[in-house]
Amino acid sequence: MTMEINISELKRAHLFELAGRVDSTNASELGETLNRVVENGRTNLVLDLYGVEYMSSAGLREMVRVLKRVKKSGGDLRIANPSERVKEVLELAGLDTIFNIYPTQVEAVGSF
């Protein structure tokens, strides 16, 4: 399964719903999608990772890059509803303490 990204422009934040595999073949597409929104001045971002069945370090790298960028502008990249597999990868990399992670989209978007 390839990666799918669904984008919703909400009042408080941009919501990105990801599904499928995020790996070295398509992680840059994730970064480009997030960066396009940041370039338009939107720096409050929520990434819903419930539908992600596989996330490699290439995906983590893109997320970290965007997190650094939005934080410089006073924004944040927050994670909602990560799948068990994603949660484990974040923990293995030690990134679960860096990203703000919420159990639901509503809580993640509402946190801004």
Partner: protein
């Protein structure tokens, strides 16, 4: 049980590794299976990116189960050697580094990671103790 696979050293070829590794660990241990798949993929991404670094070549994978032990050997013919650090330290998340996650995850997941530079490339041996006997 022993399986081998040889693929071109390209990112789009790496998906072929997944079924080979998955066939070595039963679905009941899906967490361990996913971890080993992730670890092998992370290593092969490094082989493509840093070993071959744009040069065409091959990656040979050999996976063998003996009882509870899974051994995965990954051999390449890449021109570039690796310099594995003596000690694996986690990337400092507070510094938000953009690299180093893959190899760190590899060491987190596998019980043993061995590297040697061969005359014609590189060889990595990864070992994982699986909590089940293989009865197939």
């Amino acid at each position: 049980m022993r399986k081998t696979l040889t693929i071109a050293a390209r990112f789009e070829e790496l998906a072929k590794i997944t079924p080979v590794i998955e066939s070595m660990i039963t679905a009941e241990l899906s967490q361990v299976r996913d971890q080993v798949v992730l670890a092998v993929h992370e290593l092969c991404v490094n082989v493509v990116q840093h070993g071959y670094a744009g040069v065409e070549g091959l990656i040979a994978l050999e996976a063998e189960r003996q009882g509870r032990t899974l051994t995965v050997s990954i051999t390449d013919g890449a021109p570039n050697a690796y310099s594995p650090p003596d000690e694996i330290v986690p990337p400092d998340p507070m510094m938000l580094p953009e690299s180093g996650w893959g190899i760190y995850i590899l060491h987190q997941v596998m019980d043993q990671v061995h590297y040697q530079r061969l005359p014609s490339g590189n060889q990595w041996i990864l070992v994982k103790e699986i909590g089940e006997e293989l009865n197939r």
